[in-house]
Structures are given as C-alpha cells and as structure tokens.
C-alpha cells in the first residue's frame, strides 16, 4: 500500500473525511477550469500583440485604445469580477455546509477516547465509567467501523496537532485547554496519523497507527487490552521481568499487573501486540526493539528515552519478556 492510500485526505475512510474530500474535488475542478480559461486568454493576448513590436522609440508600448474598445473592455472586466465574486461565494457556501456536516452534534453514546500528546508520542486512553475498565495504550488507536468516536485531546507539554488525514481534519492539542473532535469510520483499514503542529526535534517522527476494524474485531482487541500483562511462561521471560523491574525501565514505564506504574513514558502492558514502536517510526521487531532499548537517541535524536546499558543475556531476557506481552 502506498502512502497515497494510507495517509491521504483524498482516500477517505470516515464520514468527515468524505465530506472534506468531496469539497476538495469541487474546489479542484472549479479552480482548474478557471485556471485553464485564464491561461488560454493570456496566450491569446500574447500572440495578438507579438506582431506589434514598436519600431518608433517615442511611441507608447501599449497603444491607447479606441473609446469603443475601452468601454467594451470595462464591461467585460466588470462582468468577470462579478462572476468571480459569485463563484467565490458559491465555494464559501459549499465550505460552510461541509464545516456544518463535520461539526454537527454527534451521537452522545459515542466511544470516548482521550488522546494526550507528549514530546514525542501519543498516549491513548479508552474511557469507561468504571475506572478498572479504562484502557491505556500508546501510539496506536483502534476504532470500530460505523460507531461515532469522540476524541478528547490534551497535551502535557507543548501544542501538538492530531491528524489522521483519512479520517478527519486536524485538531490541535493545547496544554491546559482540552479540545474535542468527532468522527465515524466507514470502512476498515490501517492508516497513519501524524503530528501536524511543530512540537520539537522529533515532530516529524511523531506518528501513530490508526486501525479502523469491524466491531467484533474491535471488541476483541479492547477486551485483550483490558487484561493485565500475561505472566511470564519461561525462565528467560521471568528473568526479563526481573531485569525490567530492577533497572531504569521502571522509572518511566507502566506494565499493568506488575509494580511498574510510572507514567512518564508509554504504557508497555501489551507492547508485544503493537505494530510499531518509537511513535509509529520503527516496525516492532526484536532487532529494532533491542536497538531502541540500548540507544534510543541514536535512532531518534532528541528523544527523551536515555540510552541504557545492559548485558547481552539481560537484554535477550528482556526482549523475550517484552515480546511475550501480547
């Protein structure tokens, strides 16, 4: 799948982005026709005047027009100005209706997801009236197709902007000022989101995986996310958990079901099930994960995760454990 498909506002997968894409194509065709007309008349004017190269230096380059020609030109230009205003007004009305369709009062039973922007990753929290049912994950958003979703956006440090082009337009995450956006996914697919407001060194690599899936698949995913981390099943995984809990990992990360409860970095309870690591930047493979643990700043300069020193055996055990966290 090319980037034109999974990160494109012209390949809509939700009602909102469909409205936006529709408006975009109206603008595109109207302006294309006008551009072509302007270009044609410009060339006609150039060709007509090519022959009239003045040989007399005292003669004005542009000859004074006859009175009749002048008054006809005035009428044509005035008419074109009126037409231009009317076209712009028609586009404005189209824009207004699109905006109204996007921001219309949505379903009060919508799925509420709180998205918190951090330098430089996304914290994703599926809200629930029961606190024990709240699911926290990072850099990966799953939504059911056909159900309205409410995103509550906030930031802990600087302004970020939430943008999944296939789903909806941009919405800023402003520190101290919660914002909200709504959408309803209309077809299943995997898309890419991107921070759309410059937020520091790794802004360009602050991405997320966005998965729209059928309601059954979504509820399976959500109930799997609600479980605490699975118990280690081998000696190596057990040792990996000890390494995790005894080293500096535990100062920033949470693994539900263990004593690791820090919230400075992404929640790692089900990191083995995620498609990407490093905020949607690297595929979640053993090699990339090892490189990320040992020296994250070498992969993403400026990232807040420090390099970690670890013996080879400890690292292998830790990787076994993290990969088991499905």
């Amino acid at each position: 799948m090319s980037a034109a498909e999974f990160q494109s506002a012209l390949n809509p997968a939700a009602s909102e982005s469909a409205h936006i894409a529709h408006l975009w194509w109206i603008f595109f065709w109207v302006t294309l026709v006008i551009f072509a007309l302007v270009a044609v008349f410009l060339f006609i004017a150039i060709l007509r005047n090519l022959r009239r190269v003045p040989d007399d230096p005292e003669r004005a380059i542009i000859p004074e027009p006859a009175q009749a020609t002048e008054s006809r030109a005035t009428k044509v230009v005035s008419a074109l100005v009126v037409i231009t205003v009317l076209i712009l007004f028609a586009l404005l009305i189209g824009d207004f209706f699109t905006g109204n369709a996007i921001y219309a009062t949505p379903d009060p039973k919508a799925l509420a997801i709180k998205v918190t922007g951090h330098q430089w990753w996304w914290e994703v929290q599926y809200q629930d009236p029961q606190p024990s049912e709240i699911v926290t994950t990072a850099n990966e958003i799953h939504v059911p197709v056909g159900k309205a979703v409410k995103l509550e956006l906030q930031s802990t440090d600087v302004i970020h902007s939430f943008w999944v082009p296939n789903i909806n337009g941009k919405k800023d995450l402003v520190p101290g000022h919660p914002t909200t956006t709504w959408f309803t996914a209309r077809r299943a697919g995997e898309f890419r989101g991107q921070c759309a407001e410059y937020c520091g060194e790794q802004h360009a690599h602050m991405r997320m995986v966005f998965v729209a899936e059928p309601p059954d698949a979504f509820s399976n995913w959500l109930s799997a996310q609600k479980k605490p981390a699975p118990e280690p099943s081998s000696d190596s995984q057990r040792r990996g958990r000890e390494v995790f809990l005894a080293s500096q990992c535990v100062m920033c990360h949470t693994i539900q079901g263990t004593k690791a409860r820090a919230t400075l970095g992404p929640d790692l309870t089900h990191i083995g099930a995620r498609k990407m690591i490093a905020a949607g930047e690297l595929p979640n493979t053993r090699g990339y994960l090892a490189g990320w643990i040992l020296n994250a700043p070498a992969l993403k300069p400026g990232v807040r995760m420090p390099p970690n020193q670890m013996s080879a055996d400890d690292l292998n055990a830790l990787l076994d454990y993290l990969e088991s966290l499905k």
Binding site: T116, Q154, M251, P306, P307
Partner: protein
C-alpha cells in the same frame, strides 16, 4: 486629443525622476537606505560575538560507559560535621538552563516531590534551605541519590541514567541557590498540562457504584 500628449509627458517625467543620476539630481532611494544602515551594520560582528557561546543541547546522548566507575565513593554515611567530601566533581549541568529544566522534569517524574515536595520538604527534608545532612557538593548530592540514605531515602542506583542524575543534582542545588544563578530557571521549561478546575466539563453527579448516566 490633448489628454494623450499630457499623459505621455507625465510618463516620461516619472521615468526620469527614478533614475539614480537623472537630470533632476534625485538620489536613489536604495542608496539612501544603504547610507543609513551602514553604521548599524558595523555593529553586526559585535552582536555575532555573543552567539559564539551558544548553548548546546545534546540531541544524541552517549550511552553510559562503566556506570559504577564514575561514582564518587563516600565512606561514612553517618551525618555529622566531618564528611568525607570525596573527589570534587564539577557539574557542567549547573551552568545550563536547559539541563536544569530537564532536572526539574525528572525530579517530578521520578517522584522526588513525593517526599521533598517542590523543595519545601515533607516526609523528607527540605531542599531549599541551607541545611544539608549529607553534604551539598555536587558529588555528595549525587551519592545521596545513588546510594540512598538512612531514614527513608531509597537508592536509585541503576534506576536513573547518569545524565539524568547530574541534571537532577543541578536542579536540586539550584533550589537553594548553589547552582549558577544566571542559568537557573525562574519558571518551568514547559507548560503544565492539566486543565484549570473551572474549565472541566460539567458532569452529572451520580453514585460511584452505579454506572454513569448518559
């Protein structure tokens, strides 16, 4: 037909007036601008001198080498007037505003605030007064964090990376004015993310044992 001649004359006159050494002797606007700016542009090299000392923020942190070899050794853990200060260590982070702001971030993130509050103390001693039970030198503060101290201070050995430790040391010392005053921060380097209490959306009050009314 008179207006034609007039307009042509006017056009010619306009053209002459904007020539740099035209018959009217008008100075070119660009030349006047240059004459005004030249004295100021001489100041530019002086201004550039200031940017020679630009603060550098290391984007790629070097991985730690032998972690324990760099730890200053302090023999006695007992509080008292006679401390072994250990080898003196200059902490370059104390001259760097960014590093101290990072130290403050980690100070909160690693829950130093849980015991020491924001310097005023609580379960643990205050850090913004002049009393230092286990020494105020950078290497002593470092050792206190790494080794832990009796009566509740846990050991953070292996839990916090070396760079972050020195940033926290710089911030802790800046609380009582021991770090470079010119570099110490008057405010947070980042904005607090919580919403103000009166901006939280209204909810329906309900009993916590029942599901929330929709």
């Amino acid at each position: 037909m008179n207006w034609k001649t007039n307009s042509r004359t006017a056009r010619t006159a306009t053209c002459r007036s904007c020539r740099p050494f035209g018959p009217h002797g008008v100075r070119h606007p660009a030349k006047t601008l240059l004459g005004t700016c030249l004295p100021y542009s001489l100041l530019l090299p002086v201004l550039l001198l200031f940017s020679c000392e630009r603060e550098e923020r290391p984007l790629v942190v070097q991985p730690p080498l032998a972690q324990d070899a760099s730890l200053p050794q302090i023999s006695d853990l007992v509080p008292g007037p006679k401390h072994n200060k250990g080898p003196s260590v200059a902490n370059p982070d104390e001259n760097n505003s960014w590093m101290m702001a990072e130290g403050k971030r980690f100070y909160e993130a690693y829950n130093c605030v849980g015991c020491h509050a924001h310097g005023g103390g609580g379960m643990g001693p205050a850090l913004m007064d002049e009393k230092w039970i286990y020494g105020y030198e950078p290497q002593q503060v470092y050792a206190t964090i790494v080794e832990g101290r009796p009566n509740g201070m846990p050991s953070f050995r292996g839990k916090i990376s070396n760079d972050q430790l020195w940033e926290i040391v710089a911030y802790v010392r800046s609380l009582s004015g021991l770090a470079n005053q010119w570099a110490a921060n008057a405010r947070d380097d980042h904005i607090k993310g919580g919403s103000p209490p009166n901006s939280i959306p209204e909810g329906t009050p309900h009993n916590s044992s029942e599901p929330q009314p929709r």
